[in-house]
Symmetry: C2
Subunit: 312 residues, 2 copies
Amino acid sequence: MDIRAGLQSGDKRACARLISMVENEDEQAIGILKELYGLTGKARVIGITGPPGAGKSTVTDKLAKLLRQQGKKVGIVAVDPTSPFTGGAILGDRVRMTDLSTDPGVFIRSMGTRGALGGLSKAAHGAVKVLDIFGMDYIFIETVGVGQSEVDIVRLADTVIMVAVPGLGDDIQAIKAGIMEIGDVFAVNKSDRDGAERTATELEMMLDFNIRSQYRPPVINIIAKDNKDVDKLLEAVEKHYVYLVNSGELSQRKKNSIKNEIIDIFKYAMVKAIEEKSQSSSFIEQLISDTVDKRLDPYTAAAKLVEEFRSR
Amino acid sequence: MDIRAGLQSGDKRACARLISMVENEDEQAIGILKELYGLTGKARVIGITGPPGAGKSTVTDKLAKLLRQQGKKVGIVAVDPTSPFTGGAILGDRVRMTDLSTDPGVFIRSMGTRGALGGLSKAAHGAVKVLDIFGMDYIFIETVGVGQSEVDIVRLADTVIMVAVPGLGDDIQAIKAGIMEIGDVFAVNKSDRDGAERTATELEMMLDFNIRSQYRPPVINIIAKDNKDVDKLLEAVEKHYVYLVNSGELSQRKKNSIKNEIIDIFKYAMVKAIEEKSQSSSFIEQLISDTVDKRLDPYTAAAKLVEEFRSR
């Protein structure tokens, strides 16, 4: 398959294949990305996050459909919590968004968390880049909003939609508080449920305590499954984008996102080099067993690794 | 404050101070850890994980109290989802476990997620080591069971208790599936609720499909808040430990945990070196702006960083 030609002619299979290859650190795929890097930066990237059960997929679906009606092409990267052993996406094959996935203007990709060495945020960065090159106008990254790696992922978005939902209890509220600061637009989904008013009020109160700029994130009540007020949510996203552009924050975000990506790739390259070394020599094995036997401590062992890496 | 003397005389303040210093990468603290590393490895480390709202803190509290009745000293490291901006623990000051925290045989520490460069699992590793040196017999690490970093954290435990709860919907079930493979003992909490039977059955079914060794994780129904069958849960934890010792898996786990720790410290040291460099020179800044302006791509920029690091 000629991936370059496929990408240009809008062949979804070429796009899917390139994402997989990028995930697997395939040299040829990285070569293609390097070559086509100049084509990136055109897509609007929107993060969707929130606690489990908030209805993030439904919100994404409805927003995507709305954008399709406006003639926009839409990419969706759904980051699913997965097995640390298989590395595969548990929800990857769930039947979701069936009507969307047959639409030629929509590309959906489920992505599992990778091993500790790979780095999910690096993989997500890669997928977004491929979809950007593929010519998608909007790219959604959907992720469960708990955990450092998830936060890192949504950080690459221009706008982050935080989806809340009434009545999930204190534990959830606390999590919501934890990721509040990365939300640019708040949606209270399932707003016909008991407690929706309270959830919205609580969000507004938290936002009062959390002033970071002249931009105040709006709180929008929606019922995604009935498509109720999803258009208002999209409007709020567009407004946030206008703010980003006018305030100069957009270029700052892009810059941070690129910095994070470079450092991710750098970290991975170094750990990979060390891992490869440990397969061809007994150097790391020896460090580990010396530490297990307390002849070394982990700090000294790590310092020896750094030294070894530099002198290679 | 003489931290070494404080640790030996059981002064909690010395312990708390050392953990903070380790979190902040304080040189002196790392020196103390190196020196006292030979004292580690005596504590039993138990991970507690599960979806938000499952009642993990309550389960931890009750287990801790049970162990206190047996005269054991207990350390608790509660990893809370937090703000990526402040780095502080949102739940750090919540009023939890008040009767436990005044008990001289119990040490409780809340820990926020650190910045992307720091690494929560490195910080948690450090806290466990300090508590181990401090003479705790059991150390609990409590964390929301979603996300790669959380998985990394519980991996340092000898035994992982996965707390499930009835009726949290499909999204939660999927998450449960994602982290099933790291559970050694399953607790269905709030088992007086509707759907508890179904949750337990589902867990048993998932375990049927997920055979990894001759050890079959048990599923225990409990009501933590009423202290119901928490003793059975503790028994199951003890049984798992006997299995670990007899099968030789314990030493394998310890070895993996040490390997992960060494690599964590290694990664951090390298990223830190690069960050420091970027403050004293414009090298990274230049790479970033070249990438922003598409004169470079992120892969080439990262490769230049690696080169720079090696030649330093």
